[in-house]
């Protein structure tokens, strides 16, 4: 769908994006993750054809964004960081205008606008002035103009910024449904958002590519051996003794004693399957297990590690 090769962008002497290469597959939601100022918006502006590249190529749906800009732009729906709205226009009027500049044919415009308004629940707001809409609705109108004409690629630059939690949840759900028949690039610095919505993640920092992978793979790569968190009741020593007998335990990293007489063991395992052996041994040893869970390093840890900010 989109192929980005050796993309570099200089702003004068400052290099905003350096030698970025990745691809966006058909019908996937790609998360674009990085701290503020990492070059996310610059990259998205380049893919959308707003900014030219300093070097490297961007190919959208088989069209080079530089050589064949018009054809490439026809495949793209773009929602920039600040939704491009005219405050003195009405919702429907604005969407009709957007359909027009996107080259949707006269007869189709009405149908297309109705469809999009219905999809984003804007039908009741059609006669409202954009200036009088709430932030959530403005964002919806912005998204509506991006999906007008059903472009194959959607570029959404931090679409959930400034929305309340319900709106964020709604929007995420909507983006997920979009991912079924569109390719979506979603940028964000909110990690939970990316892990909730995206199939794959691109992590960049200071304009450089740090990782491109699925969320599970990234987590697995970073975690090394799995860690089991085990809460037991009663004597710490007895539990330690039982655990010492089980094969496949690398290391007991930490033992925390709680006030209520339970203890938490952090155990590094060689393999996740060892868990069952531990359970069996504990039951056999007559030790009361309160809780047992596998700990995964979340995306946040991966992110901080890759972008060079340790906690």
């Amino acid at each position: 769908m989109v192929e980005i090769k050796n993309l570099t962008k200089h702003y004068g002497k400052v290099t905003a994006v350096n030698d970025l290469s990745f691809e966006i597959r058909d019908n996937e939601i790609l998360g674009f993750l990085g701290p503020n100022g990492a070059g996310k918006s610059t990259t998205m502006n380049i893919i959308a054809g707003y900014l030219p590249t300093s070097s490297g190529t961007v190919n959208v749906c088989g069209h080079d964004i530089k050589e064949d800009a018009r054809a490439a732009k026809r495949c793209i729906g773009y929602l920039p960081e600040i939704p491009p709205l005219y405050p003195d226009m009405r919702v429907e009027e604005y969407l009709r205008y957007c359909a027009g500049i996107k080259g949707i044919r006269g007869g189709e415009v009405k149908k297309e606008v109705e469809k999009v308004m219905k999809r984003l629940q804007l039908t009741d707001m059609r006669r409202r002035l954009i200036a009088n809409l709430s932030k959530g609705y403005k964002q919806r109108v912005g998204l509506a103009q991006a999906i007008l004409g059903d472009p194959e690629l959607l570029i959404l630059d931090e679409p959930t910024v400034g929305l309340d939690p319900t709106q964020v949840a709604e929007l995420r759900k909507f983006i997920k449904t979009l991912g079924k028949d569109h390719s979506v690039i979603l940028s964000s610095h909110i990690l939970s958002e990316i892990s909730a919505v995206c199939d794959r993640v691109v992590i960049i920092s200071k304009g450089e590519l740090r990782a491109v992978d699925t969320i599970e793979n990234l987590e697995r790569k970073m975690s090394g051996s799995p860690i089991l968190s085990l809460t037991v009741e009663g004597e710490q020593l007895a539990a330690s003794f039982v655990l010492g007998e089980v094969k496949g335990i690398k290391e007991i990293q930490d033992i925390i004693e709680n006030d209520d007489g339970t203890s938490v063991f952090k155990i590094q395992l060689e393999d996740e399957k060892v868990r069952q052996d531990i359970m069996a041994a504990l039951v056999e040893g007559g030790i009361n297990v309160v809780e047992m869970s596998m700990e995964r390093p979340d995306l946040e840890k991966v992110f901080l590690e890759l972008t060079g900010k340790k906690k």
């Binding site: 707003y50 018009r70 732009k73 920039p80 005219y86 205008y97 359909a99 027009g100 103009q145």
Partner: protein, 243 residues
């Protein structure tokens, strides 16, 4: 392209903008008209409109930048420029759509001003040839001003500053006449010929006499096209220098 044109027209006519400016335009025209009648020597209501047009230019250059100042500056401020430049429209199409929209508003103003010649025609005589040429000169000079105003609007993200720069430059254009008449310029024949070529007054003399010369038409149209082209290049250049 038509959608953009339509949106621009709507932004003028759905707001008080076009009407307030038209009113101002009519006021200026009206003052000039009354003034002219008051200073008439004969009792016959017959006078040369082109003269009036030329005198009006000085006021008029304050109106055109007000029309053009928002064209690009507002898009930049509101963040909608991104949408225009990522749409399948080319920059040339964007510039032309905006240009024609402003020209349409300008024509609307000229249409309103027809009230004066019609009034004269009802009560006296109008010299049609010079009236038509007067309007033609006004329209052509307007095209150049609109193109210039748009250029400054795309150079600035503040509409007010765009308008002020536009006014200064257009004023400068009109003062070329006085400049050409100075001893200093006249002592350099080459410089003089260039300055005179660009000066407006010389051309308006012909229009005022009811003469429509191809040379003048070419001059105004090519100047307009040149400035519009400059605007296209400027926007393209800004994309490259964007920060």
């Amino acid at each position: 392209m038509f959608s953009l044109y339509k949106k621009e027209i709507q932004s003028f006519f759905y707001s008080p903008f076009a009407y307030v400016l038209s009113a101002l335009f009519m006021l200026i025209f009206g003052f000039a008209f009354v003034n002219k009648i008051a200073s008439m020597q004969t009792s016959v209501l017959q006078f040369s409109f082109p003269d009036m047009f030329y005198n009006n230019f000085f006021y008029f250059i304050f109106i055109i930048p007000l029309l053009t100042m928002r064209s690009f500056a507002d898009e930049r401020r509101g963040g909608t420029e991104v949408q225009l430049l990522t749409s399948p429209l080319t920059i040339t199409q964007i510039v032309l759509a905006k240009f024609f929209a402003i020209v349409t508003v300008f024509l609307f103003m000229l249409l309103l001003s027809l009230f004066f010649p019609i009034y004269v025609a009802l009560h006296g005589t109008v010299i049609w040839s010079s009236l038509i040429c007067g309007y033609a000169s006004f329209f052509l000079w307007g095209l150049v001003c609109i193109a210039l105003g748009m250029l400054f609007s795309s150079m600035q993200s503040s509409p007010i500053i765009a308008a002020i720069i536009g006014e200064i430059v257009m004023e400068g254009f009109l003062f070329l006449d006085q400049f050409a008449a100075t001893k200093m310029v006249q002592s350099y024949p080459h410089l003089n010929s260039v300055v005179t070529w660009f000066s407006m007054q010389r051309r308006f003399v012909f229009f005022a006499q009811g003469m429509f010369r191809l040379e003048d038409l070419v001059f105004f149209l090519s100047l307009t096209a040149l400035v519009l082209f400059w605007n296209v290049l400027y926007i393209e250049k800004r994309r490259w220098n964007h920060r």
